[in-house]
């Protein structure tokens, strides 16, 4: 396989899904119920960054914005989960996750491959017939062992990036999206927020919930903006049914 090529095509898919100001599309395992009651959740190596969209279309990483966004997003997640009864820890680095570091590394790498498979085969249209009406990917026994060793019931993986053009946000250009079809993406002129999250049930090792968010509005550098993004991404976790649930606002 050539995962890179596969991933390149995914970029196109994400953009094509943007048909409204904010777009999310959740997938969940059959029988999934959002975490509730007393539970412990670990946020694994959250990957949050914010940059400045330059005139040339490049994103200049901004340390201060990134730090602010990280703080606010992580606070928002903790607050949200607490509101549901969950105790949340954030493992900023692999070492902080606890457990066996080599095993944690393997799990994180596997999760990337699983996440990419979910994107490919559920969001991108490369449907696997055996998974047509199922959402069914696992991280295996090692994930269960990790959960037991660290006393966590769920693991949340999160990627969120945002960019702002100095002149304020500009509408995404359709032309930029179409060029993605050639497998090559030209940065749209204007900032955009992209986030995806996956929830792993550490009692079974399975990825039980997945969501992608693309938005042209919001600012995760602010507490309000971060809360809004986190709520759109995570709070509206819908109980699972066969197939995907999608929504745009």
């Amino acid at each position: 396989m050539t995962p890179g090529r596969v991933l390149a095509a995914f970029g196109a898919a994400v953009l094509l899904l943007v048909s409204a100001c904010t777009y999310t599309r959740q997938l969940a395992d059959v029988g999934f119920r959002p975490p509730s009651g007393n539970y412990r959740l670990i946020v694994m190596q959250p990957d949050i960054s914010v940059g400045l969209l330059t005139a040339g279309g490049a994103v200049e990483p901004n340390e201060e914005w990134t730090n602010r966004a990280r703080d606010n997003v992580l606070k928002a997640i903790v607050a949200q989960q607490t509101g549901r009864g969950g105790e949340t820890t954030v493992a900023a680095t692999r070492a902080e996750a606890g457990g066996d570091p080599a095993q944690v590394s393997d799990l994180i790498n596997l999760h990337s491959a699983v996440g990419n498979s979910i994107k490919l085969h559920k969001y991108f249209g490369l449907t696997l017939p055996t998974k047509k009406d199922r959402f069914d990917w696992s991280l295996g026994d090692e994930a269960v062992a990790f959960g037991a060793a660290t006393h966590n019931d769920y693991a949340l993986f999160l990627h969120a990036e945002d960019s702002f053009s100095s002149g304020g946000r500009v509408a995404v250009q359709i032309a930029g999206m179409l060029s993605c079809l050639a497998g090559v993406c030209v940065a749209p002129a204007g900032g955009q927020q992209l986030a995806f999250a996956s929830l792993v049930d550490l009692k079974t090792g399975k990825v039980v919930w997945y969501n992608v968010l693309v938005s042209e509005v919001g600012d995760i550098r602010t507490p309000d903006g971060a809360t809004k993004m986190v709520n759109t991404l995570l709070d509206k976790m819908k109980p699972g049914k066969a197939g995907a649930t999608g929504g745009g606002t």
Partner: protein, 195 residues
């Protein structure tokens, strides 16, 4: 052997594009242009063939090729390679030859992984004689790491029959996926015959 290609994946995006994975039901089926007959006991997903495949191959997956892949190559004649390549490629997978030693065949598979699947680390763990398709064959176990950092394991079972190469292999993530598919793979290999 198989790689997903950008041409294929972008095609899947466009409306009206019909190629995609097909369901393989748990029943006796012929594979790789009817060169072998096998009996899967669970459903599989058969990948569409594309410009990067050789005519004699067929590829299945359970959870997606990033996680597990089952490959068939059947009746590959002497002088052809197990992967599509151009004569002027800098790095070339050695072609199959009917008089190859077991070590030649093993190193052919290893070169394939290093050249086509970008394996940066590749380790042979076992090479032993087995019976495949009712003939003397080789079972080759290995593990590898490609640049996506995921540790993977693989098993290739192959035999030369009437001067042609027949090969079935499973590779997948060392964590969970390879082991989950292995029993089914072993059953498929045991069931394999030349029609």
């Amino acid at each position: 052997m198989r790689r997903l290609t950008i041409v294929f994946t972008t095609c899947a995006l466009l409306a009206g594009c019909v190629t995609g994975y097909e369901l393989v039901s748990p029943a006796t089926v012929t594979v790789a242009k009817n060169s072998m007959r096998v009996r899967p006991s669970i459903s599989w997903n058969k990948a569409p063939s594309g410009p990067y495949d050789i005519p004699q191959e067929e590829s299945w997956t359970e959870n997606g090729p990033l996680l597990d892949r089952l490959e068939f190559i059947g009746a590959l004649p002497s002088g052809q390679a197990i992967a599509k390549q151009r004569p002027k490629d800098d790095r070339k997978v050695p072609v199959f030859r009917a008089d190859m030693t077991p070590q030649d065949l093993v190193s052919m598979v290893e070169s394939y992984y290093r050249i086509k699947l970008d394996a940066k680390i590749f380790e042979s763990t076992s090479v032993k004689p087995v019976t495949f398709l009712g003939k003397p064959g080789v079972q080759f176990d290995y593990n590898f790491v490609s640049s996506d950092e995921v540790k993977r394991r693989g098993r290739s079972v192959f035999a030369v029959v009437d001067g042609k190469l027949y090969l079935t292999s499973l590779d997948g993530a060392a964590l969970h996926y390879f082991e989950a598919a292995l029993p089914e793979f072993e059953a498929i290999v045991a069931s394999a015959s030349i029609p």
